[in-house]
């Protein structure tokens, strides 16, 4: 009862009141306990029925099932597979620029290429990956 949004104390109170109001329905030749339980069951069922008509769910109850915000990131094996299909020159350029985050001039210096050649190789490498994976980089 406690978890379901129904106040147990309310039901206890309703039951006590009902026992009092309906006390004449107890036959003095029958045991009291089943009679008390029957009233308590009815009051509990009634509370659930009333709640069912106007369901209330706290946000805490469903927080676990709600999706957590996800940062989009590629797995290492995905990166490796994408790079593995490229020609060696393109692979070095794309790895330096897109994976390691170097600038074009750094890459040009490191690889001993012209900056234009780096741009072209990078562009073609990305195009090749895009063509293979079928979506935009």
């Amino acid at each position: 009862v406690g978890q379901s949004g129904i106040d147990a104390e309310d039901i206890v109170q309703e039951t006590l009141l009902a026992i009092h109001v309906k006390r004449h329905t107890w036959r003095d030749d029958s045991p009291v306990t089943p009679w008390l339980y029957a009233i308590a069951r009815y009051k509990l069922a009634d509370a659930f029925r009333r709640q069912g008509r106007r369901p209330e769910v706290t946000i805490d109850a469903i927080a676990e099932t709600a999706a957590a915000p996800q940062t989009e990131s590629a797995m290492q094996w995905e990166v490796d597979r994408a790079l593995g299909k490229l020609a060696p020159g393109q692979r070095a350029v794309v790895a330096a620029l897109a994976v390691d985050g170097q600038s074009i001039s750094e890459t040009a210096t490191n690889l001993g290429m012209k900056e234009t050649a780096v741009r072209v190789a990078f562009h073609r490498g990305l195009a090749a990956i895009t063509a293979r994976l079928g979506r935009r980089p």
Partner: protein
């Protein structure tokens, strides 16, 4: 509800003494019979040649069926008064009347030539049957529901349904004294519809007013 309010209600309740619901139900049923009977004699009366009809098996059979329906419903309503017995209502009891009627229908189908069957089922008073039984039963239904309110039915809608069948059984018993259609085929076609009106009404009213 605040505790002060609870105490206030409890103390207000403490002074009122209510009688046990069973005697009240007996009284309500008795009054229902009187009211329905008085209503019938004041308006339509029993049919002409009533005493002559008492020798007719098919005429008497109508009363066997309607009284069986009324008695079985009475048993259920009495159980519904108490919260313990109200939790298990043996609704199959309500099938006693229809079962007896089914035997009568079988005999009637065997006895009647097939040409007369649909005429016997349609009868001459079907509309009258559908209006008079609910009309005769509406006051009894109110009386029985009043007794039910005094009890503690844990399934108020179902208890109200049984109250409707009981009122319908009483009303049908008196209507049968007027109706000139005695064929079990007519009874099986129209009486359940008429009693069903009261039963559905009783279920709706019980659901609303017999909860506690």
């Amino acid at each position: 509800m605040k505790t002060e309010e609870l105490i206030r209600v409890l103390s207000a309740e403490a002074s009122t003494r209510r009688s046990a619901p069973e005697p009240v139900l007996y009284l309500a049923a008795l009054l229902s019979v009187v009211v329905a009977g008085a209503l019938l004699t004041m308006t339509m009366g029993v049919r002409p040649a009533f005493s002559a009809a008492l020798g007719d098996v098919r005429f008497l059979f109508k009363f066997v069926v309607t009284i069986a329906v009324g008695l079985s419903a009475f048993v259920l309503v009495r159980r519904a008064l108490n919260p313990v017995s109200s939790e298990t209502l043996p609704l199959a009891v309500l099938l006693v009347g229809p079962a007896i009627l089914a035997v009568g229908v079988g005999v009637e189908l065997w006895a009647l030539p097939s040409a007369g069957r649909s005429m016997a089922a349609t009868g001459k008073n079907s509309l009258l049957c559908l209006t008079v039984i609910p009309a005769l039963g509406i006051v009894p239904l109110g009386l029985i529901l009043g007794a039910l309110r005094l009890g503690a039915p844990t399934r108020p809608g179902l208890a109200g349904f049984c109250a409707g069948v009981l009122a319908g059984g009483i009303a049908a018993t008196f209507y049968a004294a007027n109706c000139s259609d005695d064929s079990p085929l007519f009874v099986a076609t129209w009486y359940p519809l008429a009693i069903g009106v009261l039963a559905v009404l009783g279920a709706a009213l019980g659901h609303r007013f017999a909860r506690w």
